[in-house]
Symmetry: C2
Subunit: 124 residues, 2 copies
DNA sequence: CAGCATCCCACGGGATACTG
DNA sequence: CAGTATCCCGTGGGATGCTG
């Protein structure tokens, strides 16, 4: 940060506010939390909950969230191995946040649509 | 979407929930909204509010948010041109959301730190 | 002042194949 | 079942330089 040799790799400027947002970083993170809100779920269950996500990314996001204390990962050493993910109390506190985003997001998308319509009308 | 020729460019799988999150997409978006919450602000003011952001990105995010109806952009055709950005009512509704994320995020970071300490203790 | 334009890199994420 | 490994691409974003 002090000296920036050419083409600095910009390690992480990130002010405090952005840092907080990293909790919900990753396109699938909110969905994962959402589906876990109904109770603990196994890896494959999450995969069918969110079919579009790849195993790699699902693993990555789950590990991230685990490290952040949003959820817990418990391995059951059964013959077909099974792993269960569950929200921590703290993770559960994210629910209203996500819900709020969904709410406002929905109204914003409607608003944007209307504005587009208006623009089209003006253009005509 | 229907037929996927090899190496599909995966246009945008995005389930509804993720789509809502796109409002807050971009590392600097929450900060921009945050600093606008205290009232309308000019481009250069936002730049000094968030020194780490580049002009390019700031412009990009502002345009995005404008298109989404989160804020308005008003050009004042003065001799030193000045542009003011202001939150829309809808944009202002994002404030509690961001605040909530900050709150939970703060406690999560503390939690993570404690866990690290615990792990270090175990390792020792 | 408030931006575009250009270049270039890092990283998130998809696809596919393989493993304990 | 629940991943890991590899490869590859698109995009977000930083740096620098230029303009109305």
């Amino acid at each position: 940060m002090a000296l920036k040799r050419r083409r600095n790799r910009t390690p992480s400027p990130v002010c405090p506010l952005s840092e907080c947002m990293t909790i919900l970083q990753g396109a699938w993170t909110p969905n994962i939390i959402w589906y876990l809100s109904e109770g603990p779920r196994r890896f494959s269950e999450l995969q069918s909950d969110i079919p579009a996500v790849s195993a790699k990314v699902l693993t990555a996001r789950l590990r991230d969230l685990e490290a952040k204390g949003v959820l817990t990962r418990s391995v059951r050493a059964t013959s077909p191995p099974s792993v269960e993910y569950d929200l921590t109390p703290l993770g559960r506190e994210l629910m209203p946040v996500i819900q709020a985003i969904v709410d406002v997001g929905y109204r914003l998308s409607i608003c944007a649509r209307n504005q587009n319509r208006r623009k089209v009308a003006q253009a005509a």
